[in-house]
């Protein structure tokens, strides 16, 4: 049985842990607010980009000579998977669920005889996947979004992806990230980046027949060739923002739970401490009384 001193030390250590976790919770909560606003304010751009691209792609669909980012390379043998995780831990199942989903996807693709390449964003995912798939890594990025995700960072990643694509390093690119639903729930999302999935033609037609009447300057192909890499950067940017917001949300929830558990543990330990103390006093009293009686 633990001595009184041991218990006291234990209680103190759990108390200081609780202080840390509750501070981390506060930090995560304030970061979450910021991450959430920036994720939300990035949506209009992505939405308008999608609308523009949708009408362009619809008018070019099926034509030969469409840019390869849209049409693909014609095969799907080599897959590039971009995995977005966080640099830091202590955020519950945030990284674990991404890693699990990646593992499933990679194994599935390997079983189908495809080649898989991995691009890792965030240290945690890289560390966890290194043992099983270390030889599939082709690139990794750290310290993304440390001071809030900037577009420049997303652009750098997107440039790397387009660069690899132009070199013919892969046929299909998918990004895996946590989509932010609320502070307590994130959804692992797999989104195909290359070739760009053309929105259903029916959907664009429903918006009105004027779609095909656009004039293009300089030309449809010219615009599309510029718009596609741009769209890729935007999609990466959005994924990073969502992932960042999710991370803070996950951390906040995890730290809230940890703080609560620490509280429970302190209660339990305090009760044990008091019982032990009382038992010891009783024991001492009995010793004294029986000693006195013996005289």
């Amino acid at each position: 049985m633990a001595s009184l001193k041991d218990l006291r030390l234990r209680i103190n250590s759990v108390k200081s842990t609780r202080k840390i976790t509750s501070a981390m919770k506060m930090v995560a909560a304030s970061k979450l607010r910021r991450a959430q606003t920036s994720a939300e304010s990035a949506r209009p751009y992505a939405a308008r980009m999608e609308r523009m691209l949708g009408s362009l792609a619809a008018s070019l669909a099926g034509q030969a000579g469409a840019p390869r980012l849209l049409a693909g390379t014609g095969s799907d043998d080599v897959h590039l998977i971009v995995v977005t995780t966080s640099d830091r831990g202590l955020c519950g199942g945030f990284n674990g669920s991404i890693v699990r989903s990646t593992r499933n996807l990679v194994n599935e693709l390997l079983r189908q005889g495809k080649t898989v390449k991995l691009m890792l964003v965030g240290r945690k995912g890289r560390d966890q996947l290194k043992r099983d798939f270390g030889k599939l890594f082709i690139d990794s990025f750290d310290n993304i979004g440390r001071k809030g995700v900037t577009f420049a960072e997303a652009n750098a990643i997107a440039n790397r992806i387009t660069g690899l694509f132009e070199e013919g390093q892969f046929d299909v690119c998918t990004i895996i990230y946590n989509r932010f639903k609320s502070a307590i729930s994130q959804e692992v999302t797999r989104q195909q980046l290359v070739p760009f999935p053309v929105p259903a033609v029916g959907a664009t037609e429903a918006e009105g027949g004027a779609k095909a009447l656009y004039e293009y300057e300089p030309s449809e192909e010219g615009i599309l060739a510029e718009l596609l890499p741009r769209n890729l950067a935007i999609q990466v940017f959005r994924a990073l923002l969502e992932s960042n917001a999710s991370e803070q949300g996950a951390r906040m929830t995890a730290m809230d739970n940890a703080t609560r558990n620490a509280g429970d543990m302190i209660n339990g330990l305090t009760i044990r401490y008091n019982r032990t103390r009382q038992a010891q006093i009783t024991k001492e009293l009995i010793e004294i009384i029986s000693g006195a009686e013996a005289l």
């Binding site: 990035a42 751009y45 308008r48 293009y216 300057e217």
Partner: protein, 138 residues
């Protein structure tokens, strides 16, 4: 003129402007164009330059954009800018600084893609400087 056109300016980070205006003059990749209500629908590239917003017959706002895309419909002008700054908020020393670092980047570029990238940045920085000088002339 009562009729107005809905002008939206969006950068990747946020929605900057969304308001009905009389006319906007956008630096298109094939030359500047003014977009009035009932303009023919078109999609065009935007080169680095200044967007003039007209309200009540005169320029009400001048915004520098570092390239992007514009979509014009009969009732709406949407500009997707890579970067957007109000001309009135430009500071001479930050612009000069940017031009300098862009020039250095072009000098130091060691690969083709890096050089392309740096030259693009330089182009933007030069347009920025031109926008600034234009302001002081006005």
């Amino acid at each position: 003129m009562a009729e107005k056109v809905e002008f939206e300016l969006v950068s990747p980070e946020r929605l900057l402007i969304s308001e009905p205006v009389e006319m906007v003059v956008v630096p298109g990749s094939e030359g500047d164009f003014g977009a009035l209500p009932r303009h023919a629908p078109m999609i065009t590239g935007v080169r680095p330059g200044v967007i003039d917003v007209y309200q009540d017959g005169k320029v009400s706002d001048r915004i520098f954009v570092a390239g992007g895309f514009a979509e014009v419909t009969e009732t709406r002008v949407t500009v997707l800018a890579e970067e957007a700054l109000k001309v009135s908020e430009l500071a001479a020393d930050t612009v000069a600084q940017r031009l300098r670092s862009a020039e250095e980047a072009v000098q130091e570029a060691d690969s083709e893609s890096a050089r392309n990238h740096a030259e693009r940045a330089l182009l933007v920085a030069r347009a920025l400087k031109a926008a600034l000088e234009q302001r002081t002339v006005h």
